[in-house]
Symmetry: C2
Subunit: 161 residues, 2 copies
DNA sequence: GCTCTTATGCAACATGGTTGCATTTGACCC
DNA sequence: GGGTCAAATGCAACCATGTTGCATAAGAGC
């Protein structure tokens, strides 16, 4: 039996939305489905390009949907050093460990959640830890081979947004 | 013997600038002196408020000076989740470990460099680590006691910028 | 299908940072 | 001390990312 993959993600998205008790709307379904389908964290831009073009959903709505999904634990937001937020579907509706990898060349961000035990870090007296965020930066599998080459000719790639 | 502390920092700043071999200018001296004097990372805003008001140095120049200091290893840039860059004087002109504490209440950022051994983190096949960035978030010594209290009355504080 | 709340779309705005270009200035040389 | 010239500065205009206010549309319970 052949299934349209996008449809499957939409269905899963709808289900999750329904569980929150809030309204299940087209923009929420589409954005969450896109996050569920993505193998890495997506920027507002990437989502807008697809969802706005296909369905004419407004960019402000997308911002608001992303904020709402984050607030309701269906997605989480990763802030990098390029001043662009990236979003993931929350794997299992509990908070995750905020461990990420970011490619210094193409800007790709992926989650590393597992494996990273958030150990305690010594702080000055009186300070209190609430969360620990670990970001590994480097080169992703696509950029490791491409890099030396590309740099010789034209400098680093534009980051995906 | 009594010494004007600001003058001392300016002197140290000048010395470091001179060692780079590049031009030693007023904006560079002032900005670097301010970073050297600060016990925590400063935002462009904080620097601008002081340096622009006192000396009329342009905000664009401050941006460029900060960029230049960073590129020359005299300062480093910390990017938080509020889309604001913060700057530290580089302690010893070698790269540091990028371990920071950020207060979730007032936004203060301090360096934790020591103590945090950058251990290796397992990545997917083909990925390569270049740097590891560790940010601990929580409450600073000033905000731990103030918080419960303030929250009851008026919500969290504005971050410093 | 009616009603009421909530979400959406649109336009205008805010913030943080960048670029282009004419003018000024630090540093080297005499 | 003064001349020279590349490099730094100041200014204005710009850009990217994200926000706000408000009128309209559309879920969901009945």
């Amino acid at each position: 039996m052949v299934v349209d993959p996008a449809r499957t993600y939409r269905y899963r998205a709808e289900e999750r939305l329904r569980r929150t008790g809030a309204r299940v709307t087209r923009p929420r379904i589409e954005v969450l489905a896109m996050l569920l389908a993505a193998p890495r964290a997506l920027t507002h831009h990437e989502i807008e390009r697809q969802v706005n073009r296909a369905l004419g959903i407004d960019r402000v709505t997308i911002y608001r949907v992303l904020e709402w999904l984050t607030a309701h634990g269906l997605a989480h937001r990763i802030s990098g050093d390029d001043r662009v937020w990236r979003f993931n579907a929350a794997e299992d509706e509990r908070t995750h460990e905020h461990a990420h990898f970011k490619c210094n060349d193409c800007g790709e961000v992926i989650c590393l959640d597992k494996a990273i035990a958030a150990r305690s870090v010594p702080l000055p007296t009186g300070y209190r830890t609430q969360e620990i965020e670990l970001t590994v930066k480097g080169l992703c599998a696509d950029c490791v081979p491409a890099r030396a080459d590309r740099h010789r000719r034209q400098g680093p790639a534009q980051h995906r947004q």
